[in-house]
Assembly symmetry: C2
Homo-oligomer: 594 residues x 2
């Protein structure tokens, strides 16, 4: 095995050129075997093996700087930079992150996982190099899917102004996660068909030099093409055609399905069915069935996605069925929010389904377009929970802090499927305000005395007192309602006193009357939320009750970037176990009485 | 006068075609006369008169939908849609907003003021039209400067997928506010030089049909070109060359200087010197002089701007002097933040100067690039105050809520020039964390016993107790420190008891020891900030002190979109006069004692 002798990029350089194809095949087998065991971004990685191998053959990382967009396709890069064990040795599977991680290796320059950042990052590194009068190469590797993000465009446009060397490799496998959307992709297709010679060339219109390589899975051709760019004195794009899923027939046949998979059978490609994230409810299916029936009743209902249609249950079949009433704008979250603003203003009933972590791209569009114009669009925020994605790059629990100060936005936190569908139905009918709904991630079955959804309207903040008690009131938001109920139970078990339990339902807008009443009749108000403490919902309650001198204890997680954490450990670290919260509440309540 | 007979676009249609040039000249004279009296966006508006006149001649607003990017160039549009008095009659000057405003007119479809939104908004309106089976035209008018914003790219890219009509007019005057930056502008220049026939065409690479009109200040040529697009069945770009400042020699000669001006002498073009926003300190000059001297000492210091170099004092002369150590990326705020992340990671010392309202575009880049990578870049946040821009589109006081939950970001609030320069100097030297500094807008002279800047490091949150007192502690943040000092004075005057006065200096990070101490020794903690209450700094204090049962009263303004407000009235509305705050504090303090 050649790969077992590769401890660093220097070892790739030391190989005989003729050994490179074999090395690539070994890497491919290792990626397939390890992914079959533990899952992974199979198709993107299979397509990029030869490119990453050629990069480390030609350039000298970390002296030369290589930055991979999104960085979910860097398995080969990791194997060639001292981390082969994590793919070759089952005992070490899962030891490395699925993304670029500077804590893992000096060859990983940035922690990253969102799209379209690589060109700007590479430009910054190149500019810093020039300020320091250094001379190394800087290389950005960006997939075609990431090019639809406005940030990538801004980077390319600005890169053309650089008076020194910068290499931008466009790894074009003709796919986003799903199919690409946008006129640019017709230009990329023309460029592929014409072998780079089409009349109109997107990259050249941005002022960039341009080269084309048709077989981006031929490692020797790649080495030759990259050798020509080594030490270049101006910004250049090398457009490389690769095959997503290269070398594994099931992935080549269904690159969308094989973008990211769980464990599978290597021989047959048979995959284990995915475990649903929320064990007691499938909110993707629930959303799709709600929206499809709303679409049938009203032709103005339109579901909008920014390249992740599956989160809202829009399978290829449902997309086809919805026709014009489903719109995927591609990886373009900013535009998605501006678009739904105008759809709503134009009389349509748009529903944008989006991961909270990606909605961050659209903060200004939420503020300046959607909220300033009070456009009655609906945004479904997915994955927003400490139980969502646990990679530091994709933390989903900053949404409350982000959306909580948007003027006029109604942000709702349902606790269960009935509440969720009631809120979605209400939002589709109202024309007064923009509405966001935090789709539950943790969804426990409603307790026997849990919240019943007795409201059909969510115009005015109205908290739901689920159980009345004394001394301590527990206000537990959204998908942490069940956790709050357990805390209330534990308080009762220990103290013999029944605690009040409240389902606030509204993230924006306080129920002043309810809070005043609770404050007068309780010694302690406890807030529990599945989000960051700083700028979160609990702080609003604490601020409102501050002048009354009521004790308030807010539970949430501290803002930070934990990586591949265990959610229960994270909660425990911030004192959010049932036991710790009950103990703290009782301690504060005693303090209050004394 | 023709203009006096124009009450709506129907009157423009009823004119004899030969009267249109005269109408344009009348509009030009009115814009010049009114701007000379009260100031305005002179140069952009002078260039767009013929285009707006032709639009209302050919299309039928509001049946047809016309959306102007940024909308600061819509004076002629306003005059042709029933609002001519606001430009022709001095008694009505300033009666209309400087931006598109749906509350003013059904011909203004969206409230807007940030760049690059128009294509996405128009696409949404067109898509909503199709869902409703309607047939009107939808037109976006976007300036060349706005094209560098990634949001505009995302809109253009997605527009190409529309299977029906959409008209995108590129009003190309070859200028952003300052000169344009980015490779795209070389393509626009090629297209202008070749009369639209250059080989590589940016708009065609995005899949859009394309037309070119060379004399965009010839109203009859414009009418002819637009007539051809009326009722078009697919997305099309009409690229129109106009002259910024057209018809007024001083503005044609210096379009950057005449982008937005205060009152001026119409005959000579002599302008009144601008009143500095902060009467006691010129932070633009202070920033530039700090940075220029830092640049001389250290070649790695680099000032970065996203098309507003003047806010950080970088005049054309200083830009030239700084050479490579000054970098304007154009209107591309997202990219600016990603770029400074990599500059810092690459060993440079980047300082990005940016308006808070525009920094909103880069929320995700702040989170995912800058903070996740703990890159030691410095961001200077300008105009963040209720005393900043008072247009609802450009409110600058949401920054604390936006930045307050960014993990690992040190956000500092200096109260005066010395603190500001100390913080900036410290930030340039440290390599541990990203730093943002809220540049004061209201800067009163420091009171005799005001804060002295005795610190040279801002690693650890440390509040400064400026006066020690009892009962009430007033914590007054940043440029509201002086307001807090007045509240403390008033409390003492009325109660005879000296209040404690604290300069917190740190927006992110609480000084736990100080807060604990204040809580033990005072009956009431008052927080005062020049920002929104929801998600603001005071809420963090209230949350921290919540478990102690200390009374906390947070003062800030409520999240909303007040338009062209009087800052003192806004503060009064939220109980933030000195009198109201002192009264409230004393009332709560008595409540506490009883």
């Amino acid at each position: 095995m050649i790969i077992s002798h590769i401890a660093s990029p220097a070892d790739v350089k030391a190989l005989d050129r003729s050994e490179l194809p074999t090395l690539c095949q070994e890497i491919r087998q290792a990626i397939l075997a390890s992914s079959a065991a533990v899952g992974g971004h199979v198709a993107p990685n299979l397509g990029a093996i030869e490119l990453e191998c050629a990069l480390h053959r030609v350039f000298s990382s970390p002296h030369d700087k290589i930055i991979f967009d999104v960085s979910h396709q860097t398995y080969a890069h990791k194997m060639l930079t001292g981390r082969a064990d994590a793919f070759c040795d089952p005992a070490h599977y899962l030891e490395v992150s699925g993304f670029s991680n500077p804590l893992e290796s000096e060859h990983d320059l940035f922690a990253m996982g969102h799209t379209s950042t690589s060109v700007g990052l590479a430009l910054g590194m190149a500019y810093a190099r020039d300020l320091a009068h250094e001379t190394h190469d800087v290389i950005a590797v960006i997939g075609d899917g990431s090019l639809s993000g406005g940030l990538a465009f801004e980077g390319l446009d600005n890169a053309a102004d650089l008076a020194s060397g910068l290499i931008i490799i466009v790894n074009d496998n003709d796919h986003s996660i799903a199919e690409n959307h946008g006129g640019l992709y017709r230009n990329l297709a023309l460029l592929r068909e014409s072998k780079g010679r089409a009349q109109d060339n997107y990259f050249r219109t941005l002022g960039l030099d341009y080269r084309y390589l048709d077989d981006g899975n031929d490692v020797l051709a790649l080495v030759d093409a990259l050798e020509e760019l080594h030490g270049i004195d101006h910004p250049v794009v090398l457009h490389v055609r690769t095959v997503k899923g290269m070398g594994y027939a099931p992935a080549e046949a269904d690159p969308e399905g094989w973008h990211h998979v769980g464990p599978f059978d290597l021989a047959t490609g048979a995959r284990e069915p995915r475990k649903p994230v929320a064990p007691h409810a499938n909110y993707a299916e629930l959303t799709a069935s709600c929206l499809v029936s709303a679409m049938e009743r009203d032709p103005r209902v339109v579901a909008v996605s920014a390249a992740t249609p599956y989160i809202m249950g829009f399978t290829p079949e449902r997309r086809a069925q919805a026709g014009r009433q489903f719109l995927d704008v591609g990886i373009a979250e900013e535009h998605a929010v501006t678009l739904v603003t105008a759809l709503a203003a134009g009389g349509a009933k748009p529903v944008l389904g989006i991961y909270g972590t990606f909605l961050q791209r659209a903060y200004d569009e939420l503020w300046h377009d959607l909220c300033l114009n009070a456009a009655p669009a609906t945004i479904l925020v997915y994955g927003s929970s400490v139980f969502g994605t646990t990679d530091q790059t994709h933390l989903g629990y900053f949404d409350i802090a982000m959306l909580g100060d948007m003027p006029g936005l109604r942000y709702l936190a349902p606790t269960n499927p009935e509440e969720y569908t009631a809120m979605l139905s209400w939002s589709l009918e109202q024309r007064e305000m923009p509405v966001a709904i935090r789709v539950p991630v943790v969804s426990a079955p409603a307790p026997a005395d849990g919240p019943a959804c007795d409201d059909a309207a969510f115009d005015t903040p109205a908290y739901q007192v689920v159980r009345s008690g004394s001394k301590i009131a527990v206000l537990a938001l959204g998908d942490f309602f069940d956790l709050g109920a357990q805390v209330a139970d534990e308080i009762e078990r220990r103290s013999g006193k029944r605690a009040t339990l409240v389902n606030p339902r509204f993230i924006t807008g306080l129920d002043h009357a309810c809070l005043q009443r609770l404050s007068r009749t309780h010694d302690l108000i406890v807030t529990i939320e599945d989000g960051v403490l700083e700028g979160g919902w609990g702080e609003k309650v604490a601020r409102y009750l501050g002048p009354l001198g009521t004790r308030v204890r807010c539970f949430g997680v501290h803002a930070g970037f934990p990586d591949r954490y265990d959610p229960q450990e994270l909660l425990a670290h911030d004192g959010m176990t049932v036991d710790a919260m009950a103990t703290e509440a009782l301690r504060l309540c005693e303090g209050s009485a004394s």
